[in-house]
């Protein structure tokens, strides 16, 4: 087995407590290699963002483990996790998350400022990042005055300003029209080609997903298909799809009686959910 950049084993994430328990992820095992472009697809509410947050070390799984560069992350100190997110990851979000009253340059600078880079150096690197997204002429504009596509490019500049190994993008085109979305997509793929940055993109945009080397299809917290690893699961996609409406309606019930019909065959270890799973958060 090749050494994966990020790999997970039996990831589970349960939100809420007792009667409000909700299993957003129900056992995710994947390996993501360096330089890969991975699309996490699935319907709204299927657990894509939750998975991405776990992979990006923004949150801790309720059960299961995540290794980064073969290093288990569960026991890492908060300071180390912060440093990893700050130096090795880049983030792009659907609704941008910018300080809209601040200038473009200051928005791009943010990760470097957090890292404590000197002001001259961080300015230099931010301008370089803005050049990559072709927005360096707008660096002194207020972020608020940009179009949606420009905002997302600023966010990409912010994501690459620290030379990350991985970019996590959660619905990067979700708030954009398709033409602008195209540009953002090609920008992301160019970064992957030219800098070897691993892309992990959450999307329900099939077009975007198909541009990625690999698609991981999530449904109700399970991987129902993974284009590179197995096809075995794809059989079940049909089953699941058939039952989709019912399951949607029964989600709470699953959480309640810990019994997931129709899934048992493929993921036997989920049949029983520990009652003491409450100390989440």
């Amino acid at each position: 087995m090749t050494k994966a950049l990020i790999s997970t084993h039996g990831l589970r994430k349960t939100y809420g407590k007792r009667n409000n328990k909700f299993d957003a992820l129900r056992g995710i095992t994947i390996d993501i290699n360096k330089g890969e472009t991975v699309a996490i697809v699935g319907k709204s509410g299927s657990g894509k963002s939750t998975l991405m947050h776990l992979l990006a070390l923004l949150d801790k799984p309720t059960k299961g483990e995540i290794t980064l560069d073969s290093q288990p992350t569960a026991k890492l100190k908060a300071r180390r996790l912060n440093a990893i997110r700050n130096k090795e990851f880049g983030f792009v979000f659907q609704s941008f998350f910018m300080n809209s009253n601040d200038t473009v340059l200051n928005n791009v600078i943010l990760p470097l400022k957090i890292a404590g880079v000197s002001s001259r150096e961080r300015r230099r690197r931010a301008i370089a990042a803005l050049k990559t997204v072709e927005l360096d002429d707008k660096r002194n504009n207020k972020a608020n005055n940009l179009s949606g596509g420009q905002k997302q490019r600023v966010c990409i500049a912010r994501a690459i300003v620290n030379d990350p190994k991985v970019i996590f993008a959660d619905e990067p085109t979700g708030n954009l029209d398709s033409a602008t979305g195209e540009k953002i997509i090609s920008l992301l793929f160019r970064l992957n080609r030219e800098k070897g940055i691993t892309l992990i993109i959450v999307t329900h945009d099939l077009e975007l997903a198909n541009k990625c080397e690999r698609q991981i299809n999530i449904k109700d917290g399970h991987i129902v298909s993974d284009s590179t690893t197995d096809t075995e699961l794809s059989d079940n996609v049909d089953d699941d799809t058939d039952n989709w409406e019912d399951e949607e309606a029964d989600t709470q019930k699953f959480a309640g009686d810990n019994n997931i019909d129709g899934m048992l065959d493929h993921q036997p270890h989920i049949t029983h959910i520990d009652i003491d799973k409450e100390e989440e958060e």
């Binding site: 990006a56 949150d59 912060n82 997110r85 700050n86 979000f93 998350f97 943010l110 957090i114 404590g116």
Partner: protein, 436 residues
């Protein structure tokens, strides 16, 4: 992120909601203004009192008379003491109590008392003058006068050149309340002659001394109401006073000034020791203590008001920052997602709180200093209530007070800021990013 970055960003964040920050700073301003202003007034009053204490010869000053004289002296204080604004008119039918002299042997005993500085003992010629009069008025007034104690030249004067101790003529530094009563003004009384009269109760004779007024004493809140004479005038009046005394009294004195070791002994301990040898003493605190206490009480009350205002302002800070944490939930989430530690988030908000406090106190101190100096000028101008206290600056700002008040307010602001800062620091980046 460096400290300068944090301070810079904190102040930028405060500017994002100018009105809210301004109102919070205004609340702090009220607190800081009252505290620094009361401190300034306290410093002014204390400076003034200290200069008065200094003019008596410091903290250890003792005015000593024989025990029998003490009641008489207190009576004299009552009539000529600082509390009466107008001099008391002379009543020839009312005979003044005599003073019992202190013998040479008593002074030797006094020198041996532990805690008394033997070298500081000065025999004071407390002169017995029956009344003072001038050619501008028919009225006669009681007056207390003594030779200016040697080495003590710190009597503030309003006008005039002051005493020439060795002058061959009669000179007097006149207590200011007599100027008007004798029909003069501070300016035109200088170099005029007034009459100091000693009446012999038995022989019914009057002896007049024409004394040239060489200065008017600036009124002090702690002044005993004494006028001061040069040596020649004091000697001649004293000779007149003891002219009819039995010969053995002629070598004696009725009052002695001395210093005691105020670090080692309390005033009461020294008084008890003196009491054992038949002497009574007044300390500086007896003379000025009540006035000082009065000011201290009033100013402490104002300071408490200032602190209450600051507490209210602290609640304002808490409120402002809670709102700001709420508003900036997504921003905090982003910061944390991008690797900012909880400590740093806490620190950012703390610095914002401290900045609010800093600006509030700078604002309060500046306005207080402007008003304080304006007040000093107005009160000293003609018709101002401090016109006759030219050496008394109502508001005195010391570096120490300014730093202390700023530090106190910044500290209170920090404490107030910890609550919202903790809320901000404990935000989970995911929840914060999902927050709408």
């Amino acid at each position: 992120m460096k400290l300068l970055d944090i301070i810079h960003d904190a102040n930028l964040n405060l500017l994002r909601n100018k009105l809210r920050s301004f109102l919070t700073i205004l609340a702090i301003f009220i607190g800081s203004f009252s505290i620094i202003s009361t401190s300034a007034i306290q410093a002014g009053v204390n400076n003034f009192i200290d200069s008065q204490v200094e003019s008596y010869g410091g903290d250890g000053y003792l005015a000593i008379v024989s025990k029998d004289s003490f009641d008489a002296l207190e009576g004299l204080q009552g009539t000529i003491g600082s509390n009466s604004k107008e001099p008391i008119e002379y009543n020839p039918d009312k005979i003044q109590d005599g003073m019992t002299p202190i013998t040479k042997e008593k002074i030797e005993e006094l020198k041996k008392i532990d805690g008394i500085d033997a070298d500081s003992i000065v025999e004071q010629k407390t002169l017995s003058i029956s009344y003072v009069a001038s050619k501008k008025t028919d009225k006669k007034y009681l007056i207390g006068a003594e030779a200016l104690p040697p080495g003590n030249v710190k009597v503030d004067t309003v006008t005039g050149e002051g005493l020439n101790l060795k002058a061959d003529e009669y000179q007097i530094l006149l207590e200011s309340k007599y100027v008007d009563a004798l029909g003069y003004t501070n300016e035109n009384i200088i170099n005029e002659k007034i009459q100091l009269v000693v009446v012999d109760q038995f022989k019914k004779t009057e002896k007049k001394f024409d004394a040239k007024v060489v200065g008017v004493i600036a009124p002090g809140v702690v002044s005993m109401g004494y006028s001061y004479t040069n040596n020649k005038l004091a000697d001649d009046i004293y000779d007149e006073n003891i002219k009819y005394y039995p010969p053995e009294y002629k070598d004696m004195t009725v009052a002695v000034a001395a210093n005691y070791d105020s670090e080692k002994y309390s005033a009461q301990e020294i008084k008890d020791k003196l009491d054992d040898i038949g002497l009574s003493a007044m300390t500086i605190d007896d003379i000025i203590g009540t006035i000082k206490t009065f000011f201290d009480v009033i100013l402490t009350v104002f300071k408490i008001f200032g602190l209450i205002a600051l507490l209210a302002a602290a609640i304002g800070i808490i409120n402002t920052l809670f709102m700001s944490v709420q508003e900036r939930t997504r921003e905090i989430g982003l910061d944390k997602a991008l690797g900012m530690s909880s400590m740093r988030v806490f620190f950012n908000f703390s610095i914002e709180a401290i900045s609010l406090g800093f600006w509030g106190s700078v604002f309060g101190i500046t306005v207080s200093m402007l008003l304080g100096n304006l007040a000093n000028n107005i009160f000293h101008a003609e018709g101002g209530f401090l016109e006759s206290f030219p050496t008394f600056n109502l508001a005195t700002y010391t570096i120490k007070d300014i730093i202390a008040v700023t530090a106190l307010i910044m500290f209170i602001s920090f404490l107030a800021g910890t609550l919202p800062a903790r809320r901000a620091a404990s935000k989970n980046p995911i929840d914060a990013l999902r927050y709408e």
